[in-house]
């Protein structure tokens, strides 16, 4: 009885610790994915249009994570100036983790 209770408590603690560590690691990978997508947009590797994007496999830093990214491009009132928002997300044990980056891109 005591052994079973101890196992249950330990299992809960370990699960929570593993999940939080995994979430932290995932956020790092998501940030890296956002940065790579943003640099791809800046460098012209990806078109400056809104929509989902997928990185090349050899650039995908996410390892075993299934990462999805979406780019939103909004033209500003100044000609050739765009506000770009990149969102990357994944799911860790059913909980969605998301990171986004926003910047302005000048594309004359």
């Amino acid at each position: 009885m005591v052994f079973g209770l101890a196992l249950l408590i330990a299992a809960n603690a370990l699960t929570a610790q593993a999940a939080s560590t995994r979430r932290l690691a995932a956020r790092g990978e998501l940030l890296r994915t956002c940065e790579i997508v943003m640099e791809s947009l800046r460098g012209g590797m990806l078109p400056l249009v809104s929509g989902p994007v997928r990185l090349d496999r050899d650039l995908d830093p996410s390892g075993d994570l299934e990462v999805y990214s979406f780019v939103r491009v909004d033209p500003r009132s100044t000609p050739n100036l765009y506000e770009v928002n990149v969102r990357s997300w994944t799911e860790i044990r059913g909980v969605r983790e998301e990171v986004s980056l926003a910047t302005m891109v000048w594309r004359p």
């Binding site: 196992l7 593993a18 560590t21 690691a25 791809s40 460098g43 650039l59 000048w106």
Partner: protein
Amino acid sequence: MSRPSARGFSVVELVVALALTAVVAAAAAELIMEAVRIAEAAGRSLRSPSLALAVVSVRRDVEASMGLLHPPSVGWTQEDLELVGWDGTRMRLHLEGRDLVRAATDELGRWNRRRVLARGVASWWWRSPRPGVIDVRITALVHPAPGIAASSQRARRTEVRRFAFRGWPGGRSW
């Protein structure tokens, strides 16, 4: 009326209890293994701050450059990465043994600035998939945790990054 507790446990009850205990213990062992694996991965990041700093330095150099000094090879290469800054200075990133080294020229064009960006670098690759864009892949040996050999695959960390030159001709990168 007999008391159940006076009879003890039957073999079936014991077997069921043991089976349940085994299942819970197996699940706990699995959790412990996963926790250790994740903690090791987190530890690798913490034990290798120089790799993260090296990536930041490379990013800064690329952003401060107007382009490559020489036309790049096709595909991934381990050659020196030479950049030309806006002020005419040149920067070179290359491996010296297991050190990733950044060398730069001064205003007179002399290579007299040298700095080690990261130590324990196992491999250094870069490519230019299109003009104005650089992909970098750096693998470093991480200072091993106690009990883990430095040569172990688990003691390596790889950073893959893409950088765009700012203000590449045509001004498209800003």
